[in-house]
């Protein structure tokens, strides 16, 4: 029983080993972080195109905001330079704050939209900002189910 719970707890880790769909970066706007909004064929039967596009477009918006060069970033940059960058020991950069918002958004999207459809969206920061990956969690449920079955057989439940 304790191990069963442990297996279910490892759902997220195991999802990293399941089959995946990768959304690559879109470099057409120079090196700013942007992901391709083209709907991949593998997700055709799993999720509505509009939901997928909305998620990717929102993520692109967040990254665009983080990398935006404007008044606030100049202020932060100049202040940091004036304090010989010591200020970053006590203060979070704007980029880091937005990354936190992004991970909360991804968590929310997973809970509301992707988990019910058997998909798990991973945060691009875990993949070196190269890809947005969709893991197929049905594979994982299958392997967890197999383990439960084995356990039941062993304990003769």
């Amino acid at each position: 029983p304790a191990d069963t719970f442990h297996n279910l707890q490892e759902l997220h880790h195991s999802a990293s080993l399941a089959t995946k769909v990768f959304i690559q970066r879109d470099y057409s706007d120079s090196t700013i972080c942007k992901f391709q909004t083209k709907f991949p064929a593998e997700l055709d039967s799993r999720i509505e195109r509009s939901l997928f596009e909305e998620t990717v477009k929102t993520l692109n918006c967040y990254y665009g905001e983080a990398e935006k060069i404007g008044g606030q970033s100049y202020l932060e940059g100049c202040l940091a330079c004036a304090t010989a960058y010591i200020i970053f020991l006590c203060m979070e950069t704007r980029y880091e704050k937005i990354l936190k918002k992004i991970s909360m958004y991804i968590q929310e999207q997973n809970e509301k939209i992707y988990a019910p459809r058997g998909l798990l969206l991973t945060d691009p920061i875990e993949r070196g900002m190269r890809v947005v990956s969709f893991a197929n969690t049905w594979d994982v449920f299958l392997s967890v189910g197999t383990t439960l079955k084995e356990l039941c057989t062993i304990y003769k439940l």
């Binding site: 297996n7 990293s16 080993l17 399941a18 060069i69 970033s73 932060e76």
Partner: protein
């Protein structure tokens, strides 16, 4: 059975399994290149020259001219050291290597584009073309990191890492200069130029004002003058060169290769430039600082397949590993009960 082993297995931090050729200190907080000999030389030169200046010239100058001289010198020195340490010890923008699934996915895409290959058929070099602001840019595939390098990224052979917006590998700083530490590098060489000129000027002033030959011939003075004289030519020149690069938003790598030179062809221009030198400089110095992508102090997740360099197999199926690992557990439970 591996039960007692799995229970007591020490969890490693990511820097301990980092595939590149970097050295880490302070439990992953500091990262530096493998060869650091020249970096120590830089430190020694700056510390010794500044130390001699503060010890021998400043008392005279403070009393005879103004105490503002050592004060300004002190501020400059602290700034130079701060920027040097920041440039040397921070992550230049290393791109983490592809996980096995990512690498497999890219291989599939490449095979799909290239088509089937017969025996003896040499596959074409792996490149992808991207249109950036109207300019065609070729993205190259990195065989070590198993990724298509983003634009402006390059693989450093000394550190064995792909670095974003790779400028160059600086042995004086003991690290690559890339997206995340370019501003620290630039501010280091700029402030060092000022410090060198400052020390040189005031040592000469000391010699002239003291009107004594003993000061002129003093070993310390000679050392300071010699070091500063040679440094000024190289460092001021380097600062000037990097000011030009920064104002045109180019990297040293691109400038050497002549990537955006008009000699390459008509209509060849730099697609990354913002148009005017002020915006380019502000973007480079005051733009947002992206976070490190390698998460060196994070913990390695157990059961997660390690990226490219660590695996011995050739794209082994991870899903089989899941099944076998999960199936193994009931047997380990059994052995616990026994």
């Amino acid at each position: 059975m591996d039960t007692p082993h799995t229970k007591k297995k020490k969890i490693k931090r990511k820097w301990q399994v980092f595939p590149g050729r970097n050295k880490f200190y302070c439990n992953g907080r500091i990262m530096i290149a493998k060869q650091t000999g020249v970096f120590y030389l830089t430190m020694v030169l700056i510390l010794v020259t500044s130390g001699l200046f503060f010890a021998f010239d400043c008392p005279f100058l403070a009393s005879n001219l103004t105490p503002a001289i050592p004060a300004i010198g002190g501020v400059l020195f602290v700034f130079v050291m701060g920027m040097l340490l920041r440039a040397s010890f921070s992550d230049p923008g290393v791109l983490p290597r592809a996980t096995p699934e990512e690498a497999a996915d890219i291989e599939r895409q490449i095979d799909a584009t290239n088509g089937p290959s017969g025996p003896g058929y040499r596959p074409p070099p792996r490149t992808r073309e991207v249109l950036i602001n109207g300019q065609t840019v070729k993205l190259k595939y990195c065989f070590t990191c198993k990724i298509f390098r983003p634009p402006r990224a390059s693989h450093c052979s000394l550190c064995d890492n792909c670095v974003e917006r790779f400028d160059h590998h600086c042995p004086w700083v003991g690290n690559c200069v890339g997206r995340r530490n370019y501003r620290f590098f630039y501010l280091f060489i700029l402030s060092l130029s000022f410090l060198t000129i400052f020390i040189f000027a005031f040592v000469i002033t000391h010699v002239i004002l003291s009107k004594s030959i003993s000061v002129f011939l003093d070993g310390c003075t000679v050392l300071e003058v010699v070091v500063c004289f040679f440094s000024i030519w190289s460092i001021v020149g380097l600062s000037g060169f990097h000011t030009y690069l920064m104002s045109s938003n180019q990297t040293t790598n691109e400038d050497i290769k002549g990537s955006w030179s008009s000699k390459r062809g008509k209509g060849n221009y730099n697609p990354y430039s913002y148009g005017n030198f002020i915006t380019n400089c502000c973007a480079a110095l005051c733009g947002p600082l992206p976070p490190s992508l390698i998460d060196r102090r994070g913990f390695v997740q157990p059961d997660t397949p390690q990226p490219a360099a660590q695996t011995n197999g050739t794209g082994a199926c991870p899903s089989n590993q899941v099944q076998s690992h999960m199936v193994r557990r009931p047997y380990s439970v059994l052995s616990q009960r026994e």
